[in-house]
C-alpha cells in the first residue's frame, strides 16, 4: 500500500486534511450510556460530544472506569447507547451490529482465534466479506509483510509471543481496510521495551495506511507521544480535547493537569482578567501573568487554582516562591526537588544535573522562579 502511488497521495491528502481541521470521520452527539436500572444504575457516559477527524490518530485518555472503553465499544457496535447518536462517515450507525460497521477493533487481549493460524486470523474479515480467495490470499500476504510476520504465517496464536500476537491482531483488524481502527489499550499487556517498539510501529502503520485510529489508553506518556489529538476523560465525561501540547501546557482543569504529568498547584487571587489572559497574585504576594482556559472569565478578586509544571520553574537568586528543600530525589539526568513553601504547601521542581554542580541538600533554603508563561489558571 505504501508502495502504491495513489494510496500514498490519498494518505497524504487525508493527513493534510486532518492537520487543517479536516472532515469528520466520527461524530458523536449527546452520547449517554447508563448500565443497570433504578438504584443500581451507573452512568458510564454522560452527554459526550466528540468529533474525530479523518486520518488522525485520536486518543481517548483517562483512568480506568472513566468510560473510554465503553465509548470505544459503542463505536464498534458492541454496546448500545442509552441516548445520543454516533455517525461514522456521515452515516448514523444506530441499530447496526458490529458486523455491519466500517470499523475494526484491536482488542486489549488481542482475541485472536486460537484454532486458526496467524494467516487465517488475518484473512478472517475478508473471508466473511465474501472476497474471492485469490484476493484474500494476496491481502493476507501484504498484511503479513506490513507487520513483518511473514515467517510466522502458519503458526497458531499459542505458538507465538505476545508482541507477535499483537502484530497479528493489528494486521487482522487492518486487513479489511476499515474506515476507522479502534484500539483498546492494545499495548498494556506488553513489557516496557516491546511497548516502546510497538508505539513506533503503530505510528508507522497509521502513517502508511492513512486509516483513522481511535486509541484508548490510561498511559499519559503513550497518549502524548503518539496522538494527533487527545480527549481526556473522567467519570463518563470528556474534560478536554486538544493536541498533546495543548493538553500538557494548557490543561483546562485540575483533573487534566493532575492526570497528565507532574504538576504543582498554587492558590491565587485574580487581579485582572482580559480574554484568555489574567494576572494573579500568588500566596507570596508576587503578581504574575497567567493563561486562562477558553471561555473561562475569572472575576477580579476571585480565588483560583493555578498550575505550574515542574520544568517551568527553576532555582534563582530572586523569584516568586520561597521555601526549604525537604527531599532531593536523584534521577540521573535530573534531580527532583521537593520544596516546602514558606506560605504553606509543597512545590516540586525538576533541576537538570550538570557536570560538577551540586543540587541543594535537604534543609537548604531556596528561591524559585516561575518561567514566563508557566502559569495557568484552572477551571474551578
Amino acid at each position: 500500500m505504501a508502495a502504491d502511488g495513489t494510496a500514498d497521495v490519498e494518505t497524504r491528502a487525508r493527513r493534510d486534511g486532518a492537520a487543517a481541521g479536516g472532515t469528520a470521520e466520527i461524530e458523536i452527539v449527546g452520547l449517554t450510556k447508563v448500565f443497570g436500572r433504578g438504584s443500581e444504575a451507573a452512568r458510564a457516559l454522560d452527554e459526550v460530544n466528540l468529533t474525530v477527524r479523518r486520518g488522525e490518530f485520536f486518543t481517548l485518555l483517562g483512568p480506568s472506569g472513566c468510560g473510554k472503553t465503553t465509548l470505544l465499544r459503542m463505536i464498534a457496535g458492541f454496546e448500545q447507547p442509552t441516548r445520543g447518536a454516533i455517525r461514522i462517515d456521515g452515516r448514523d450507525v444506530a441499530g447496526l451490529g458490529p458486523n455491519r460497521r466500517p470499523v475494526n477493533t484491536v482488542f486489549q487481549s488481542y482475541a485472536l482465534f486460537p484454532h486458526m493460524t496467524a494467516a487465517e486470523n488475518i484473512g478472517f474479515g475478508l473471508r466473511m466479506l465474501g472476497r474471492p480467495r485469490r484476493e484474500v490470499e494476496a491481502k493476507v500476504a501484504e498484511m503479513l509483510r506490513l507487520v513483518r510476520m511473514e515467517p510466522m504465517a502458519n503458526r497458531r496464536p499459542a505458538a507465538i509471543s505476545g508482541g507477535q500476537q499483537q502484530r497479528v491482531a493489528l494486521a487482522r483488524a487492518l486487513a479489511p481496510r476499515p474506515r476507522v481502527l479502534l484500539l483498546d489499550e492494545p499495548l498494556s499487556a506488553l513489557d516496557l521495551k516491546l511497548r516502546k517498539e510497538m508505539q513506533g510501529e503503530l505510528k508507522r502503520l497509521q502513517a502508511e495506511t492513512g486509516i483513522t485510529f481511535v486509541f484508548v489508553t490510561h498511559d499519559q506518556e503513550e497518549a502524548l507521544t503518539m496522538s494527533d489529538r487527545i480527549a481526556v476523560m473522567d467519570r463518563g465525561r470528556i474534560l478536554q480535547v486538544g493536541s498533546p501540547r495543548a493538553i500538557y501546557d494548557r490543561p483546562a482543569d485540575r483533573f487534566v493537569a493532575d492526570f497528565i504529568g507532574d504538576t504543582n498547584f498554587l492558590e491565587a487571587v485574580v487581579v485582572r482578567s482580559v480574554g484568555d489572559a489574567a494576572t494573579v497574585r500568588l500566596p507570596s504576594g508576587a503578581v504574575r501573568a497567567a493563561s486562562v482556559p477558553e471561555g473561562l472569565a475569572p472575576v477580579a478578586g476571585g480565588r483560583v487554582t493555578v498550575v505550574v509544571r515542574p520544568e517551568h520553574a527553576a532555582l534563582a537568586e530572586d523569584g516568586e516562591l520561597v521555601g526549604v528543600v525537604e527531599e532531593a530525589v536523584y534521577f540521573g539526568t535530573d534531580t527532583h526537588l521537593h520544596v516546602r513553601l514558606d506560605t504553606g504547601g509543597r512545590f516540586t521542581l525538576r533541576r537538570q544535573n550538570m557536570a560538577g554542580d551540586h543540587a541543594p541538600e535537604p534543609g537548604a533554603a531556596v528561591t524559585i522562579r516561575i518561567a514566563e508563561s508557566g502559569l495557568r489558571v484552572l477551571r474551578p
Partner: protein
C-alpha cells in the same frame, strides 16, 4: 493424615532420614487405599475377568457353566447353526440386527442430545452469573432422579391413552392414537430424555470457558451470526461436544432399562440380549461373550475419545 505427617516429617527430617520417611509415607498411602481397592477388585474389576473366563466355557443345562473350554459362546455371538443340520453355518442375523439397532439407536440418541443440548447449554452459559448455577441445577435435577421413575414417566406420556395422544386427539389432529410405546421411537425418546444432561454439562463447561471477546472479534470482522457459530463457537467447544457425545453414547449402547420398559421386550438392545442368555436362554458363555463384546465397544469408544482429545490440544488454553 498420611500427607500431613509425610510433609511434616519431610520438613523436619535430616536428608539421610528422607528415604525412610518416604517409605513410611508410601506404606501409609497403601494402607488408606487398601479397603477401597479390595472392594473395587472384589465387586467391580475382578468379576470382569471372570466374565471373560466364562465366555470360553460350556453352558450348563440349567444355567451356569460346565468347566470345559469351548469357543462356542464366541462363535454364537456372530454365527448361527442350522437347527436340522448343525454343520451348516450362517451369520447370526438376529444378533446382527440387535447389534445394529443398539449402535444405531445409541448414535441417534447422541445426535438428538447434541441438537437439543447445544442450544440449551448455550442458553445456560449466557445467563447472568447469579442465575447460571440455578439453571444448571434445573437441568441436572431430572438426571439425579431415579432412572426408572423417569422412564416410567416417559411411558405414561407416550402411551396410547397418554398425554401426547390425548392432546393430539382432543385437538382433532388424529382420529386414533398413534402407537408410540413399544417401538424403536419410544426407546429413542426415552434414552434421549434420560441421557440429555450428560450432553449439556460438558458442553456448558466448554462454553463457559469461551472468551466472549472472540465472538466480538468475529462480529467485528463482519461475520454473521451463523458464521460466528460455525467458524468460531463450534471449533472452540468441540472438545465439550465430543466429551458429551461419548458420555451419551456409552450408556446408550449399554442401556437396559429403557429398551426393556419402552421397547416392551420385543425391540431388544444388546443389554437385553445379554440378560436373555442369563435368564431364559440359559447360555451363560454366550451371555458372557456378548457382555465382553459390549465392553470392547465401549472401551473402543473411550479409546477413540482419549486419542482424539489428547491429539486435538485444548484450543481454549491458547
Amino acid at each position: 493424615m498420611t500427607t500431613v505427617r509425610e510433609r511434616l516429617q519431610a520438613d523436619a527430617a535430616p536428608p539421610d532420614a528422607e528415604a525412610a520417611a518416604a517409605l513410611a509415607a508410601g506404606r501409609r498411602r497403601w494402607l488408606l487405599l487398601a479397603p477401597a481397592l479390595v472392594v473395587l477388585v472384589l465387586a467391580a474389576s475382578g468379576p470382569l475377568l471372570v466374565v471373560l473366563a466364562y465366555s470360553f466355557l460350556t453352558p450348563g443345562t440349567f444355567g451356569g457353566v460346565r468347566w470345559e473350554l469351548s469357543a462356542e459362546g464366541w462363535f454364537r455371538v456372530f454365527f448361527a447353526r442350522d437347527i436340522f443340520d448343525p454343520e451348516t453355518v450362517r451369520l447370526n442375523h438376529a444378533h446382527a440386527s440387535i447389534f445394529w439397532r443398539s449402535v444405531s439407536l445409541a448414535f441417534q440418541t447422541t445426535v438428538i442430545c447434541a441438537l437439543l443440548g447445544f442450544p440449551t447449554a448455550w442458553f445456560i452459559a449466557n445467563r447472568p452469573e447469579r442465575t447460571r448455577a440455578v439453571w444448571l441445577f434445573v437441568i441436572t435435577i431430572p438426571f439425579w432422579t431415579n432412572l426408572l421413575i423417569r422412564t416410567f414417566a416417559i411411558q405414561e406420556v407416550i402411551r396410547n391413552e397418554g398425554l401426547v395422544n390425548s392432546v393430539l386427539m382432543a385437538l382433532g389432529l388424529i382420529q386414533a392414537p398413534i402407537q408410540m410405546l413399544y417401538t424403536d421411537f419410544a426407546i429413542l425418546v426415552g434414552m434421549a430424555y434420560v441421557f440429555l444432561p450428560l450432553m449439556v454439562l460438558p458442553l456448558y463447561a466448554a462454553m463457559d470457558r469461551l472468551d466472549p471477546r472472540l465472538l466480538e472479534a468475529a462480529y467485528d470482522l463482519y461475520a454473521s451470526r451463523v458464521r460466528v457459530l460455525w467458524h468460531v463457537v463450534l471449533p472452540l467447544v468441540k472438545p465439550g461436544l465430543i466429551a458429551g457425545s461419548i458420555l451419551v453414547f456409552i450408556p446408550s449402547i449399554g442401556a437396559y432399562v429403557t429398551p426393556r420398559v419402552l421397547g416392551g421386550g420385543r425391540n431388544l438392545m444388546l443389554a437385553n440380549l445379554i440378560e436373555l442368555q442369563f435368564g431364559q436362554g440359559r447360555n451363560w458363555p454366550l451371555g458372557a461373550a456378548l457382555a465382553v463384546t459390549l465392553l470392547v465397544i465401549v472401551l473402543f469408544a473411550l479409546f477413540v475419545y482419549l486419542r482424539f482429545a489428547s491429539k486435538d490440544e485444548d484450543p481454549r488454553r491458547a
